[in-house]
Each structure stands twice: as structure tokens, then as C-alpha cells.
Symmetry: C2
Subunit: 321 residues, 2 copies
């Protein structure tokens, strides 16, 4: 019930379409995305990440994915009537065609975020710098932080500190971090990134996504990733509705996003699977990528948890390392 | 991923049958309770709360509830083969017949916990003292702390401090507290209860049950309530499996409880409802008892969240105060 007066610097980045698209192959109707935009705007959410801006030429397209996988400005313009909520897109290093990215003044997008592993930091900076020069707000989201050695991470952060990138993200890709880990990382990032603002992206494998995000918020982290009803890959993300309920900015309103859940998310959750599931809890505990859990859930053995646990904890059988 | 070396003082109290019984009217089969006991014992869980020890004479019995609602020692003896895991029962002030409670040396039970509102502290102490004199470990669980004024709570704690009760619980009945609130309460309880050990019981309305329990554990709180797969009233409790996964005591093992989830909990969750549900999130946010949310979920309007939100935030219509 704490009045979170220390979180008035925060902004919410709703990732429902982008991260949720990893669940349903971006099969969101135009009506869904329009309703989501309107509800986020009415709730006071600052950013909506409307998809990936990767190139179908550089990322093997299956031809079946929804349009939010390879965002096109002309299409976006037809779909969304821009109001206060800004639009964001994510790109992966090596999968974006620079020619696809217009000047911000000609684009519907405001923010472009570059996701990378620590080893690709130089490429991410190059890409982010290009977007910066084209007028966008920019972030670099270093994924899978829990598996990066400290010397490598220090080097990455030092490089980013000298770049024009606006915001650097702490990303808990495997949903394995707890509030103490977040505290450690925020302090570390602060020390190494004197000139940068910070962001956080969490996963809910251990039911700690929201607590981790709150911890980061109270330590001054500015951009908070979330998704409506927690929709996101595997265990999903921090629910947008919980941030709206808990952060006490007068601009925020919970009700419009409740309307979005009522109209779309309950039905969608019956068709698609995300949230607290035991195989995802197991990979989170083991600090592993959720792909093995997702594969298990897609198999006939989906509810055989002890067998999955045994495989995951018997390295020579399952991991091959 | 933190190694929780600071939590080696902790003990888990599994409340699946007792708090989960509020979901399914204690309709657990003998096989379910036996499997639960065996799995908790094999996982190293220290206590299993096997039900309520209220008297059917003093609490209006519907005649339909399972045997775990009104525990009988003779019945328990037939059902459970005691091993390491101790047995606990909860009683409500004013609903227990003292004559029903044997000497501990003649009983299957080890721990008796007295739940009360702050205003009933004197009665709770009287009852707890009686159990203490009959040889049991005892706790007092002060419910609905978020709605108690500070002067009243101070008086309650001072009285308990002078009693022979072993452990005092911080109970987040409405699932409205966050880690900062828990920190505040643990520090307050510590100051007022110099001679007592502490316990914590959380609810998951805001997806903070586990984070709140971890926070308490790290601050030295000893007894941690949980339930398998989070089964408990409305939004449910801290999942036992998450505590087993996260607390790094060598005695704990996750696998047996995963087996319990696999064998019983998935099917049970398909039949009965608990966990993160929007009406319970709304009552948690508003610091209200979940009964209105549970009533809404039992009605035809169960998925109309904005209507529920409007009613709950229009006091004269719904609350009558």
C-alpha cells in the first residue's frame, strides 16, 4: 500500500504486442492493437511497443506471422491514430535493414530499442547511434545479464556510456533474478553509466516480475517494461495493470486497461498460454533460457513436471554440455 | 539467484489443506492429504497445517464440508503416518471448544495457531496460553493488519509480548501489502515483541506474495506460510514450490512437491479457482477483503472487470459506508 512517491520519474513501456507476439506469432488483429493503443493512452501509459522492426529479408520469415513482426510505417499509419502514448519498436542486432528506418519526423515511431547480447554491444551501439541520428529516442537492452561475466559486462557498459544512446536496460531474460539481484545490477549500472537513464524488463518465472520492477523503480530506474495481463513469452512480464494500480502518479488510471483485459485478454489467454507454469518456474530457478520449458509445454508430456525437472538437472542427457 | 544464506533460520508452514480448504470447502480426499504429507516430508517442509480445529458446535457447520474443517485426532491418526514434518491446526477465537484439544502428548498435532483480529487479542492469548500449557507450540496470527490503527496494534503486541505464545504472525489478509510494508511491519513487530519469534502469511492479489515472504525471511522472520501451487482463498498464497526452489537449505528438495503438483494440483485447479484474477487484484489494490471479488467471480458477471471496479470505487453503492 506504500505511496510510491519515489517513483514519479517512472514511465511505462507496454510490450504486449511485441513480447506477447512471441506467444501467438504476432497474430493480433488490427482491432486488438487499436483497442490496446486507446486503452493505454487513456490509462496514461507513456509508450506502447507495437512490434519488431526487423527486416523479413534478414530474419527468416515463416510467412505466417502477423504484421507486428516486421513493422511497416505505412501500415502503422493506417492502423493507429496517434495521441499521447508514444510508439516504440524493438530491433535485434543483425536483423534490421537500416534502409527500412525512416527519419523520425517521417515515422510513426518515437523510440527504437536495440536488443543485444553483451558480446554484440559494439554492433548495438552502431545501430542505436544511427537511429539516434535519425531523431529517435534510443535504448540498448542487454539480454541474459545473469549469464554474463563481470569483466565482459563492465566493458559493454563503458562502451555504451560513451555513446549517444539515451537509456540502458537491465533485462532478466530468464526470469531468474530476485529483488536483491536487481538492486545489485541497478547499482552496478549506475556506477558504470554516469550519463545514462536506466530501464528494466522482467519475466515472471518465479512470480517476482512485479516485485523486481518495483525495486528498480524505487532505485530510480525510469523506463518500466510491462504487458497487459502479463502477456509475454513463457512466464510473461510484469502486468501493466499492476503498475497502473501501484504507481501513484495522478496521470495514471487503471480502468481503461481493465477494459482491455475484459474485452480481449481473457479470451486470448484461453487460446494461448503464458504466465506461471511449472516448467517455466523450473527454467527460471535453474537460470536457463525458457525454450526448453516452452518445448515441453508444446509436447504430450506438458504436465509431467518431475520428468522435465529430472532432464533439466541431468546435464549430460538434456543440455549436451 | 541470490544465495539466501540469510534465510537458514526459516521454516516452511504449508497451508494447502487449511487455506486451500477455503476454496473447495475442504473437499480433499484422504489420498490427496496423504500424498501431500508424504511430498512435504520428502521435500523437507517443517510443518503441514492439516486443517482447522474449530468445533462444529460453535461454528455453524453446513454438514457438507470435508473432515479437515473440524479436525478429529482419532481420524488424523488413521490417515497420517507421522514422519519428520510436524502437523499444525488453526483455530479461530470463539470457535474452538477447549475440551476438544488433547494434551500434545496424546495428539497428532504439534503446533496450534490462533487467528484473531487485533481487537480479540486478549481472547487469543487466553486460548493460546491454554494450548501452550497442554504442551503445543503456539502462534497468534493477527489478521487484517492493514486496517488496524497503530495505537490498537501497539497495545495488542504489548499484551502478546508478556504471554507464553511462541510466535507472532504478520498476516496480509487482503493481499494489499508490498515489500516496503512488510519491512515496516517486521521492524515494528521486532521492537514491540522482544521475546518472540515471528511468522508471515501472505496473499497473492498483487503478485507480491512470494516477494513479501522473501523480504520477511531476509529480515529474520522464521515461520513462512505457503501452499502448494499457491492454493488458498481468492488470489492464493506464496507457492511452497517457490520457497523450496529459492531457499538454499540443503535439507530442502523441490522434486517431491513438483510430483504433488503433477499428480493433484493441475486437475484440482481446473475444477476450483484461485490465483491471480482481476477482481482479487482490484480488492488487493483497494485494501479490501476479497469476499466481494469472490462473490463477483461466482456470479454471471465474473469477467466484467470494469463494472466490478466501478462498484468497488463507488462507496455508497457497494459498501454502504
Amino acid at each position: 500500500m506504500t505511496v510510491h512517491s519515489k517513483t514519479n520519474h517512472c514511465k511505462i513501456v507496454d510490450c504486449t504486442v511485441r513480447d506477447g507476439g512471441l506467444v501467438n506469432n504476432w497474430d493480433f488483429s488490427v482491432e486488438f492493437v487499436q483497442d490496446l493503443y486507446e486503452s493505454l493512452n487513456a490509462s496514461g501509459v507513456e509508450y506502447m511497443e507495437v512490434g519488431y522492426k526487423n527486416s523479413p529479408k534478414l530474419l527468416k520469415s515463416e510467412g505466417t506471422e502477423g504484421p507486428w513482426r516486421f513493422l511497416d510505417d505505412e501500415f502503422l499509419r493506417k492502423v493507429i491514430q496517434k495521441k499521447n502514448t508514444k510508439l516504440s519498436a524493438l530491433v535485434d542486432v543483425g536483423r534490421v535493414d537500416e534502409a527500412d528506418v525512416l527519419l523520425r519526423s517521417d515515422s510513426m515511431l518515437d523510440l527504437i530499442r536495440v536488443a543485444c547480447y553483451a558480446r554484440d554491444t559494439a554492433k548495438a551501439i552502431e545501430l542505436g547511434t544511427l537511429f539516434h541520428e535519425r531523431g529517435y529516442e534510443t535504448t540498448i537492452n542487454i539480454m541474459a545479464l545473469s549469464g554474463v561475466m563481470d569483466n565482459e559486462l563492465n566493458e559493454s557498459l563503458a562502451m555504451i556510456n560513451d555513446s549517444p544512446i539515451d537509456v540502458v536496460y537491465i533485462v532478466d531474460s530468464f526470469g531468474s533474478l530476485d529483488p536483491d539481484d536487481i538492486r545489485f545490477l541497478v547499482e552496478k549500472f549506475r556506477r558504470s553509466l554516469k550519463n545514462k537513464r536506466l530501464g528494466v524488463h522482467t519475466h515472471n518465472n518465479l512470480q517476482l516480475a512485479f516485485a523486481n520492477t518495483l525495486t528498480a523503480a524505487q532505485l530510480g530506474v525510469e523506463l518500466l517494461d510491462a504487458s497487459v495481463y502479463g502477456m509475454g513469452r513463457a512466464a510473461g512480464n510484469t502486468p501493466t495493470e499492476l503498475l497502473l494500480a501501484k504507481l501513484t502518479r495522478p496521470e495514471y488510471s487503471l480502468r481503461p486497461v481493465l477494459g482491455m483485459i475484459e474485452k480481449h485478454m481473457i479470451k486470448l489467454r484461453e487460446k494461448e498460454e503464458w504466465g506461471y507454469l511449472i516448467p517455466d518456474m523450473i527454467t527460471g530457478t535453474l537460470d536457463e533460457h525458457p525454450r526448453s520449458a516452452m518445448g515441453w509445454r508444446a509436447s504430450a508430456k506438458r504436465d509431467l513436471f518431475t520428468e522435465f525437472y529430472d532432464k533439466m538437472t541431468t546435464p549430460e542427457v538434456f543440455h549436451g554440455n
